[in-house]
Amino acid sequence: MIDILLTSQTLNITGCADAVMSPQSGGIDLFIGTVRDATKGKTVLRLEFEAYEPMAKSEMNKIALQAMEKWPLHKVLIHHRIGVLEVGEVPVIIAVSAAHRAAAFDACRFIIDTLKLTVPIWKKEIFEDGEVWVAAHP
């Protein structure tokens, strides 16, 4: 089971865990991204996330499929928020269930690492004195 969501609504942590639970699963690993209050020493006021939506969903689905090929998983969930997020809010939740926890940990880490490399979502950091698209320039 693969559960992919791109939404401007608040992500639901318990809902994500419940969605991947199954009576066959012995462990769930959940990665929760949060908005930090500072980057490179500068105070971040808020973030804005933008996605190329159809392609982002397609790439998220590809990563989930890759993870299910690499490890014996029961369910994989990738939820990502778009729009304006304040410090402490949650832009991303990855949840993975498996019979054994090693697979859940490895797969969860693979998914967030790969998502950050391939999924067309962009983050703008807004500071008191300006704003910047993260990673755009060298």
Partner: protein, 80 residues
Amino acid sequence: MIIKILAFGIAKEIFGGSSIDFALENEVTTVDLKAALEERYPSLAELSSYLLAVNNEYAAPDLTIGAKDEVAIIPPVSGG
């Protein structure tokens, strides 16, 4: 031939909008289209990197792009 090119993130600022209609004489490869875009929008070449997506897939350098394809500029992603 007119290709509509979608822009996101920093590319939207470089294009001055969320898409452009880009005129070309013939079908082009990904590599050729990037070169043509950089000639018209030199700021693209200042990015850390960028890719083209065609029909929601990352485009190989030698892919041929025609007027019916959905093309998008993918500047360095930063989700998560």
